[in-house]
Symmetry: C2
Subunit: 245 residues, 2 copies
Amino acid sequence: MPATLLHPPLGQSRYGVLAQALRSRILQGEWAPGDMMPSESSLAASYGVALGTIRQALSLLVEDGVAVRLHGKGTFVTKGMDGASMMRFFRFSDSDAALEPPESHILSSRLRQATDAEAHAFGLGSSGQVFQFERLRTLRSEPCLLESIVLPLPLFGALAESDSSAWDDLLYPMYQARCGVLIHHAQDELSFAQLGAREAKRLRLTAGHPCVRVDRKAYDIAGRCVEMRVTRGDAFSFKYTAQVK
Amino acid sequence: MPATLLHPPLGQSRYGVLAQALRSRILQGEWAPGDMMPSESSLAASYGVALGTIRQALSLLVEDGVAVRLHGKGTFVTKGMDGASMMRFFRFSDSDAALEPPESHILSSRLRQATDAEAHAFGLGSSGQVFQFERLRTLRSEPCLLESIVLPLPLFGALAESDSSAWDDLLYPMYQARCGVLIHHAQDELSFAQLGAREAKRLRLTAGHPCVRVDRKAYDIAGRCVEMRVTRGDAFSFKYTAQVK
DNA sequence: CAGTGGTCTAGACCACCGC
DNA sequence: CGGTGGTCTAGACCACTGG
């Protein structure tokens, strides 16, 4: 049980301070992803605040996607995204909308010096190292997506030293299992380009063929960028749906 | 002042019922877009509920984007989207990110029978009529986007009968001013295609040139589809940013 | 059944806005 | 200054979950 804090709000609301305190306890691993947090009433008691106040604090965490409430069961720390849920707005192979998870094939991997952009995004010092690998995703053995993935190196050392043939098809759960990195959200930038010769060969298309290019940066709960990824695929079998509000 | 309702919740929470009641009063025009709604305390009094309950109801409206709260001033009915805000995730002419609003040129317009898909989306009976027009958008006199816009006809009669040369560059505010239609949200579907000869000429590109195609359906506050639009532009000077959570 | 989150109340006080 | 929304309290009762 933590120290019974009762900070008076200083330019901040009390529930905002409480939310930050709870967020910190989650980040420090006091409750693992999937764990149940203490009940609202016990949190209220231990922090010496009213129930409604702690509920507002928890609501902030729920909005952030850090916690989820289950009526009658409790409040739980979020489990990370599974990668499939991040593809929910995309559609490839226009005919069938059936969502079979594509297979995954690692083509190559290597360690190298981080570029300036990577060092900046990952918060690495100069001469930071990264681990990069290429992955081909297939649907019923048909190549559909080519991915180039870059990970910052102290953090993903365990992955870099492991055998890529034993990797899981779903990367994000594997990041969590092997390196304790939990993907929380991401930003995708879509653009169109033409395939280079090497890429075209992988995808069984011709050089210069139109392709979609998705530049993704993925972040953990703490808001640190922990993955950069470029995905390419045939432009003609591509659809993306966005809700604008 | 409306009848002082105090429905006991029947499978529903009280604040949910209150939110629906307030939503109805907005849809019926009791408070126009931009108007201030009654204060929370007066609403609570007139409905005979506690302040916290009416606040939860209003929070639902705020989540929906139907109302906004301004501390110290009041709660206001949302003004519609202005079209510019719906482009905030797009970028054309890759060089400069400066957001100049593109100019608008109406190329043609006509009345015609609705297709099955349009009749279904707009909720028109068979033999429903629509108003369709084409619009070219330019940036510093350079063509960049070609739009084909379809509107359901009883609703947009005032527009169909007016002189298109006097139209505003921003369509959505004009819909509201002339036809009382307020755009609340939209769904965009991005895909990739090639320009036809006629389209290419408008955009000063060659036939077969790669283009992005954005299929949009726009909805009013009540959730009715009130506009269908297809936008085309050069695929290579296009970027789209999406936040994935 | 006991424990959880969800709803609702009644009232106090604070922070912000505009006159 | 009065009116608005924002925060916080203390407590009651309901609805859902699981043993």
